[in-house]
Amino acid sequence: MSLLEVRDLAVSYDGRRAVEGVSFTVEPGEVVAVVGESGSGKSTTAHAIIGLLPGNAAVESGRVLLGDADLATWSQRRLRTVRGARVGLVPQDPSTSLDPVKTVGAQIGEVLRLHGRRDRREVRARVLDLLARVGLPDPETRARQYPHELSGGMRQRVLIAIAIALGPSLIIADEPTSALDATVQRRILDLLDDLRAESGTAVLLVTHDLGVAAGRSDHLVVMKDGGIVEQGRTSEVLAAPRAEYTRRLLADAPALSARPFRDPPAADEPAVVVRDLVREFRVGRRPFRAVDGVSFEVARGTTHALVGESGSGKTTTARTVVRFARPTSGTVTVTGAPDGRGFRRHVQLVHQNPYGSLDPRQTVGEIVEEPLRNFGAGDRATRRARVADLVERVALPEDVLTRRPRELSGGQRQRVAIARALAAGPELLVLDEAVSALDVTVQAQILDLLDGLQRELGLTYLFISHDLAVVRQISHTVSVMNEGRIVETGTTRQVFTDPRHPYTRELLAAIPEPVR
């Protein structure tokens, strides 16, 4: 008998269907991955299994069979006996998933106490045991610490400890690593694998990342718009996808499609030269070096990627290049860029978050027009024409001009941000994680757009990213950053095929399989 069988599940939000006709099974000890983009209903499905839907959502029909009990018909009171004990949950974002005012030990002990382990000493011993089991050194200290004192990876280990505390037969892992750096992500996934191998717990892995799903699951369920598009053995689905949507996902996932490298054109004069850049921040009394002696060059008309994990100093470097931050020492030379306001015409920044970088009160037309107004480019009519031209260039329909950012999708907003950056007529575009917040299919479209613009307008890109697979696809040259320093620089081909530095090798190893 299957461990879990979901049959014809339908969930509504405020009466509107979000999930419909979803059926799949999880066998004991198996990893089933549910893959989909935002809004596909994958998280809703996972939460519906243990009856943890937000207040305005309800299971409309269908069965959730755990063993021979239909959880869909159970009351909340009865479900509480299952949650934590027979089904564990590993949530999405470790930074906000622990109660900030309670110690780590208390929060692990809580799940034990909730299910009847009252003896203080017994609970404490078990907590220390669990902390050690999820690979946290010095459990005694950890148990006394508060969540904010731990790193993201350590917090996710704590959450895993909570999920496995009572030896559940199923763990629901909802995007367990999407908020973590690639190397940490790999270690966490390895930990889940090990625990599964030890205890035979089944895992329902919900993820947007086809790469992660491909490398870690036995069975693959592909979801789109609240329904299942395709499912089957992971290896079979990947080898011969039947649904058109799965094929597109596979093609767009940068990690899974080995596109040819972009080799840099014959050496041109550099558009940007960064020399011995240092940037210090004061944290309390002692200075902290976010950027520590960084040097690199970007040839005109090419894309240079700064790649690294969080805290590597890549964003600080980018902000110094666009002069939103001053270097503590060292120089940044942008060839041909004047000083003062003229600099802003020459160099433009595109932020990571298209939700935050557009003024919610302006229309798209006003947003794109703003640089033109600031630089006094022509009268109203010529500015209008130019705005229409820019919007068309980033492949947005003309009717977005009168709309406001919140009426647009994430991909559309990022196109607006790019159009605004282009309005100034820049030669250098600094893209700070500009595609990281987007779904893969949208990401692929934006990357294509950037590629096309570069060819047409001869733009130079400084591309900041944590995602090696994306970097491999778009950049000509790469600098790998770690703890404020560049550990390796070279053409993309060199760095990816023949990495010299151990850190680069570790990063590359963290990319899910099929690439390399």
């Binding site: 949950l89 949530p91 999405q92 906000t96 998933s97 909730l114 508060y146 904010h148 959450l159 909570i162």
Partner: protein, 319 residues
């Protein structure tokens, strides 16, 4: 060990800077109050002594005035300031008695009223916010959670009058005059507690609401916790912090409320004293009341600030 010493030094520095800031605010409040009340166009001494029945000549009035405020204005300011620092607030123009004496008579009465009212306000606020947030029936929830905004809109003096009307005249539960100490306290405490409880309840309810949407809440639910367990052990703990800030700020409301309450119920306290001082333009008394209230306010909010790191471990590192 070394780390510990560094921490102690940091905490001491934080404490000192907060106390210093509080002292600065108090001094500024005193100075501003002093300057403003010196600007007075009306003249309290004239009001009191120009009455022809007293038969004082202008010369005698000038003499009296120099008794109250001798020498240059700046010296007078310094004298008053040092007086305040030594706990001597000068003499009441109205009655001629030391201001300290008048404050001393009035303070216990108001302190009793205000502290009882504040406790009752906390109880009302917590009951409304928790019952409202916990209720799953949407109309009960809606009704309970809209109570605070109704309470905010009720004028305290009107509420007092209404209570007298209902409990003393209609139901005859409370004597209008006479009665035991406790009986005399019930209606004023209720009158004062209601406007103070409303903002606390509002912030507590909205903090509970906000904390409930945070991602750690479903994680606790996934451990198998009940709604009440989550609300009591996790959400409440987190919602206390913003509520404390507001509770500290309602202290001003408490002072203003006691002026009104004491007037309505004819109780002798700081509020009544303030009213008399305003009517008589008795500036030394008014200045003392203002500085006293500001001092108490600053002290209460200093305590709240210092309690924050105790309750929120994240702030321990920051401070």
């Amino acid at each position: 060990m070394v780390l510990l010493r560094v921490e102690v030094a940091a905490v001491t520095r934080y404490l000192l800077s907060r106390v210093g800031q509080a002292a600065l605010v108090l001094w500024a409040a005193f100075t501003a109050g002093y300057l403003l009340l010196q600007l007075l166009p009306g003249d309290a001494i004239l009001i009191k002594f120009q009455n022809p029945e007293l038969g004082l000549s202008p010369g005698q009035i000038a003499e009296i005035r120099s008794y109250y405020a001798p020498g240059s204005p700046f010296l007078d300011y310094l004298r008053t300031l040092t007086g305040f620092l030594h706990g001597s607030f000068g003499y009441s123009i109205d009655t001629g008695t030391p201001v300290v004496e008048r404050l001393g008579e009035a303070l216990p009465e108001t302190a009793r009223l205000a502290s009882a009212a504040f406790l009752l306000a906390l109880v009302i606020a917590v009951v409304i916010a928790f019952a409202g947030s916990h209720s799953r029936t949407s109309w009960i929830r809606g009704a309970l959670l809209s109570v605070p905004s109704l309470l905010v809109a009720v004028p305290a003096f009107w509420l007092g009058i209404l209570l007298i009307q209902v409990f003393s005249f209609r139901l005859r539960l409370m004597p209008v005059i006479g009665g035991s100490e406790l009986q005399q306290l019930v209606l004023p405490v209720l009158t004062l507690a209601v406007p103070v409880s409303a903002p606390i309840a509002q912030v507590l309810a909205s903090s509970i609401d906000e904390v409930s949407t945070q991602p750690f809440v479903p994680v606790v639910a996934a451990k198998g916790a009940s709604r009440w367990w989550i609300l009591w052990r996790h959400v409440a703990r987190n919602a206390v912090l913003p509520t404390m800030t507001v509770a500290g700020l309602t202290f001003g409301e408490l002072v203003a409320g006691s002026v009104v309450t004491e007037t309505v119920f004819g109780r002798n306290g700081i509020g009544r004293l303030t009213e008399q001082a305003v009517n008589a333009q008795d500036t030394p008394v008014l200045l003392a009341v203002v500085v006293l209230a500001a001092g108490a306010f600053v002290l209460v909010n200093l305590v709240v600030d210092l309690l924050f790191p105790v309750l929120d471990p994240r702030l321990r590192a920051a401070s």
